[in-house]
């Protein structure tokens, strides 16, 4: 059975700290790994990773994928209270026998709280 596991499930830090969120996966028909940020409503897209070892960066956030060890990390440096949210990791897999239709399989999410 396909599964995506995130750790830790929750995290409390202070402003200015650096955090690392983990995501491991065991799936068939892997195509990409995505990170989303969710603040009470719809998840908003952060990164999509398809190749190992290539870091994607957006401001204070960065992410990297290791397809050999089947995991990804999301780093947030110099955290701010506005970073408080649930961070979701998801893996896109194609449906068996399909090359253009798939779905996202989500981890449980990591709840990050950044205190002033």
């Amino acid at each position: 059975e396909d599964k995506v596991v995130q750790s830790p499930l929750s995290l409390v830090v202070h402003e200015g700290d650096t955090v690392t969120l983990n995501c491991s996966y065991e799936v068939t028909n892997f195509r990409s790994l995505l990170w989303y940020k969710q603040e009470k409503k719809a998840p908003t897209f952060l990164f999509m990773l398809t190749s190992s070892g290539i870091e994607k960066k957006s401001g204070r956030l960065s992410s990297i994928l290791d397809k050999k060890e089947l995991f990804s990390i999301l780093n947030i440096t110099a955290t701010q209270t506005g970073d408080s949210a649930v961070y979701l990791c998801a893996v896109w897999v194609y449906f068996t026998g399909s090359s253009n239709t798939g779905k996202l399989i989500f981890g449980q999410g990591t709840t990050l709280q950044v205190k002033p």
Binding site: T50, W92, T101, L104
Partner: protein
């Protein structure tokens, strides 16, 4: 640009009542459409997906059903709601061949 609309944003329904949640996508044609549910403190679970009009696949057995009457319209329904149907429902779409999905704003359903 593409946008996805989902309504209502919140809903409180009594046990045994019917349900209809609607989702529409603009600015694209022939999208793949999805309904996800997020229970409290958990990740998103895929309920249904559709690759075309009238084509619905269910991922998990449940009290809900889905329909796609038009290319860019996806509806989630129930004839009789259960307490366990409470949760946060998200509609999403993706392009054919793409490996990412975009989400609507979600509907928070509380069954009382």
């Amino acid at each position: 640009s593409q946008t996805i609309h989902q309504w209502p944003a919140t809903l409180v329904q009594p046990v045994g009542s019917p349900l209809s949640l609607e989702c529409t996508v603009e600015g694209t044609s022939n999208p793949n459409l999805y309904w996800y549910r997020q229970a409290a403190g958990r990740g998103l679970q895929l309920l249904f997906y559709s690759v075309g009009i009238g084509q619905i696949s269910s991922e998990v057995p449940q009290n809900l059903s889905a329909s796609r009457p038009q290319d860019r319209q996806f509806i989630l329904s129930s004839k009789k709601l259960l307490l366990s149907d409470s949760g946060f429902y998200l509609c999403a779409w993706s392009r054919r061949g793409a490996t990412e999905a975009f989400f609507g704003q979600g509907t928070r359903l509380t069954v009382v």
